[in-house]
């Protein structure tokens, strides 16, 4: 661990990665709280897997056209937003088929990514870093885009906190009070898509839903207000992803997987401890 902090002082890529854990963690805590309370974990999972499609198409177009400056995050954001819109619109129109739609979008998004990556000429893109994340590869220009996405998510929640809360708690009542619940549901999926893209960089496509839900689930065991849960979840998400980065550095472990093991273990320990507390001796 000491080695990591020494390296952090003079290695720029580590500083960028650390900054990334901070930015992603904040969005993760805020959006993860909605994902957990509105029970849309599997929608977040489907959106995450569609990111592979976006990144795959982006990579293909980039190589074929020789667009060196273009960043994969562009493809990721577009794919995530399209996936969110498709799932949102279909579930609003035909609620009874919700799980089928989510499953289909999940698989199709991923399949498109695999096809485009397979057909990308020349050097094969490192599929592993998309699937399992590689926070160490983040560039300064990507970090700028990440910061913009972060600000967008937080601004949206700050403006419409009470509508989002009402829609998550009691959708029918919110509708009766004149809240445009369909619009806010789609907005919620939209900010979920943005948060998912940030987390893909930290832990990779496959493990996004763990980092999105575990901090919010832990914070939810102690908090009695929605924004307290968000604050706690954001703090935990930053702690887990920064901790994962720090712990994995010296033994050269994958930081994404280390982060998830850290978050998962904490969740299980806290869940056991709080269950004990509530059970009469």
């Amino acid at each position: 661990m000491a080695e990591f902090f020494t390296a952090l002082l003079d290695m720029r890529f580590l500083q960028l990665s650390a900054l990334m854990t901070l930015l992603a963690g904040i969005a993760c805590g805020v959006v993860g709280t909605y994902v957990v309370t509105r029970r849309i974990t599997y929608i977040a999972g489907a959106i995450a897997h569609c990111v592979l499609g976006g990144m795959g198409i982006h990579r293909y177009v980039q190589v074929v056209n020789g667009w060196e400056q273009s960043r994969p995050i562009t493809g990721a954001v577009i794919a995530a937003l399209i996936a969110a819109a498709v799932i949102g619109l279909v579930t609003l129109k035909a609620r009874q088929r919700e799980d089928t739609v989510i499953g289909a979008v999940w698989a199709i998004g991923m399949a498109i990514g695999v096809l485009f990556i397979a057909k990308t000429p020349g050097y094969q893109t490192d599929l592993m870093s998309y699937l399992f994340g590689n926070i160490l590869l983040i560039s300064a220009s990507e970090l700028q885009l990440v910061a913009i996405l972060d600000v967008m998510v937080i601004a949206m929640v700050a403006m419409f906190y009470k509508q989002f809360q009402a829609v998550c708690f009691d959708e029918e009542f919110a509708r009766l009070r004149g809240v445009r619940v369909e619009l806010f549901y789609l907005l919620l999926l939209g900010i979920t898509a943005l948060a998912v893209v940030l987390l893909v960089y930290v832990v990779g496509i496959v493990m996004v839903i763990a980092l999105l839900t575990l901090p919010a689930a832990i914070a939810g065991m102690f908090a009695h207000k929605l924004w307290h849960t968000m604050l706690g979840a954001a703090l935990l998400a930053v702690l887990f992803s920064f901790g994962g980065l720090a712990i994995s550095y010296q033994p050269d472990l994958p930081p994404g997987a280390t982060t998830i093991v850290l978050a998962g273990t904490t969740y299980i320990v806290v869940a056991i401890l709080t269950t004990r507390k509530h059970t009469p001796a």
Binding site: Q163, C168, A174, L176, G178, L226
Partner: protein, 255 residues
């Protein structure tokens, strides 16, 4: 009387509703006056919930006309304070009692940004009337079923309603507390229209002058004429299932 006559809180003329199969409600004519305390009763599946959702504008009738406060249900819905059954809500949602009641201020508060101090005051005033102000900072999840139901009544009050619509408000309450609640509802009915849905026929008949019986069709009965014959007409073949209620009714009126 014209369609837009505002002297009635709710009017229904020849209203029918179906989900595509057999009719749930057929040829319903119903008038509810301002500041009336009305109880809607009927067997499960008889159309009570559908009637409620038609009044709220969440469903549209297949035929017939509905006027709420002189306009369409959708336009009038913001003047209705609605209390759903609390069992529908996630008991682990991280909100305090005060947070829940504040949701009643949506539509009255500005769209952008947080609630105003006046909204917080209105929420507290509503909690005060339900004698729950001392619980305002407690988690909603920590309350008993009956207390949660009262919080949801406070939330409906915070809407500044002209019609209060309560779905099974007595479902989780002990008898003495039910009595207190009915006293409170009668007090509310001096200020605005109060409509409650209940399956507990025997008990409500002590408190309201007339009941609206819903079982595909709608009949309004004076409670002092609510006999066993009327009940079996309302409940039809299901009369054995509501034998308990049936007994109560007879007991109250003959005993």
């Amino acid at each position: 009387m014209t369609d837009t006559d505002t002297s009635d809180a709710i009017t229904m003329q020849g209203v029918s509703f179906t989900f595509g199969g057999p009719p749930i409600l057929e040829q319903v004519d119903l008038t509810i006056r301002h500041r009336e305390l009305v109880c809607v009763i009927g067997p499960n599946g008889g159309g009570k919930t559908t009637l409620l959702r038609l009044i709220l504008g969440l469903l549209a009738p297949a035929s017939g006309r509905i006027h709420v406060l002189g306009s369409s249900p959708r336009k009038a819905r913001h003047r209705i304070g609605y209390m759903p059954q609390h069992a529908r809500l996630d008991p682990h949602f991280p909100v305090t009692v005060h947070d829940v009641v504040l949701m009643g201020r949506l539509g009255l508060a500005p769209n952008l940004g947080p609630f105003k101090p006046s909204d917080h005051d209105a929420a507290d005033a509503a909690l005060e009337r339900l004698e729950l102000l001392d619980r305002r900072n407690e988690p909603f999840a920590a309350l008993s079923g009956g207390q949660r139901q009262r919080v949801l009544i406070a939330r409906a009050l915070a809407c500044e309603p002209r019609i209060l619509l309560l779905d099974e408000p007595t479902a989780n309450l002990d008898l003495p507390i039910q009595r207190d609640l009915y006293d409170l509802l009668r007090e509310f009915a001096t200020e605005f229209t109060v409509i409650l849905v209940s399956h507990d026929v025997g008990f409500v008949s002590d408190f309201v002058r007339s009941v609206v019986c819903v079982n595909r069709t709608v009949r309004v009965h004076e409670t002092n004429k609510l006999t066993g014959d009327v009940m079996s007409e309302v409940y039809g073949r299901d009369v054995r299932m509501v034998h308990h209620d049936h007994d109560h009714t007879e007991h109250h009126h003959h005993g």
